[in-house]
Amino acid sequence: MRLVYCLLFAIYCSLLLSGCSVEKEKTYRQTEIAMDTDVTVTVVSPSERKAKDAVEAAFAEIKRLDKLLNYFSQDSELSAINRASGVNPVKVSPETLEVIKKAVDVARLTGGAFEPTIGPVMKLWNFELKTIPDRKEIKNALALVDYRKVKINESTSEIFLEKRGMELDLGGIAKGYAADRALEAIKAKGIKAALIAIAGDIKGFGLNHDGIPWKVGLQNPRPAKNSVGSQMPGDREMLTPPSAGDIMASFYLKDRAVSTSGDYQRFFIKDKERYHHILNPETGQPAKGLISVTVIASDGYMADAISTGVLVLGPERGMKLLESLGLGGIMVDSNNKISMTGDIKGEVKIEKTP
């Protein structure tokens, strides 16, 4: 009997001790507003403290980069570069130098379809006030757009925009780059699986709580009329989340990044014509031919910038570019037809055609 008691007591004590530290993978997810958009960081870890620590490190990194690269903030290093265009080179931190170097590299890869100096033309368009700039204004601003006039001095860590009035706008690459950096910050905390989503710029690492790669849904560029995206308030008491019925395709993401560019993210419609925020650097007008481009790459900055470049290039040239770079891509053309690069056809499940 005594043995039984001793045994029971031992089990009891071991239960009490282990009760709060069961080595079980948990998922921790946090959403905040950063980089002027919604950012969600998901971490899988057996330790709550470690997970929280990693999530905080990721957000700190994203906010730090935003301080350096925000086009709209007067205090950013990017604004300092823009203010000094045509006047003098500006000394910047290593991250700013690195992301600008990457932006110019991608611009070169895409033959200027991805154009980080589109700023002066972009400024003429106002998607809230639905103003269409006149052709002369656009023509003048286009004279200031040329990525080859961005001078990067690596030895002095300086950036110089050669022409007065030139402006770098890293809106098409900064979020992907920040996702890359934030994931490094998470890995440095010893975490084995995480997912970072800066709006639609996503980077995954490791396996999710179910032990499978992260499941990613792809936004339908033209959701059905009765879905949330096209509803007026007060229609129904209970609504599904906007994403639920509006998913065009899904796929699994492991240790890769994905980004989507589309004509539905910032746009207005005037005289039945859709004007969206991805401009063709040759014309200064919204790009035509494709309505949505998703790119899967190993780096976030690459997926982010190339998806913009492909949308500008259009279906044929865009597909050629993806194949020459060996990147996976899903595109929807203006007839709502979906096409994909050969390497990912087997991985992508079409949920609902636009």
């Binding site: 009760g19 921790y28 997810r29 990613v216 936004q219 308030p233 209970m238 599904t240 989340p241």
Partner: protein
Amino acid sequence: MKRLLSMATLGDKILFISLFIATLISFLFVKDLFPAGGLVKVTVAGNTAYLLSIEENRTVKVTGPIGDNVIEIKNGRVHIKEASCPNKLCVYQGWIDRGSIICLPNRFVVSVGGFNQRQSSSGPYDAITK
């Protein structure tokens, strides 16, 4: 231990055994006693404005940079009842019992719980590329 046992009356032994069983049972049910959600956090422009229990039905008004939003907690779920932004995306999201609702124009985030969230408001997806 030996002395303890010899001093213990039958009642003590019964008490000990029943405590032991109670402990075992509590381990099985601890998850149900403390559901994964539990806490509703409301942040405005990055600062925590409210920490509320999901179990307590109530309605709060939150003031953001562009106006007031009304948040309602009812039967273990939360939704945005009224919003001052033009597109009302946060109102469309409806009720959630985990994950987050975001209002970009008004710079506020309502999130439920933290750990062991197997899904977000994006349903069966871990994330949406958009």
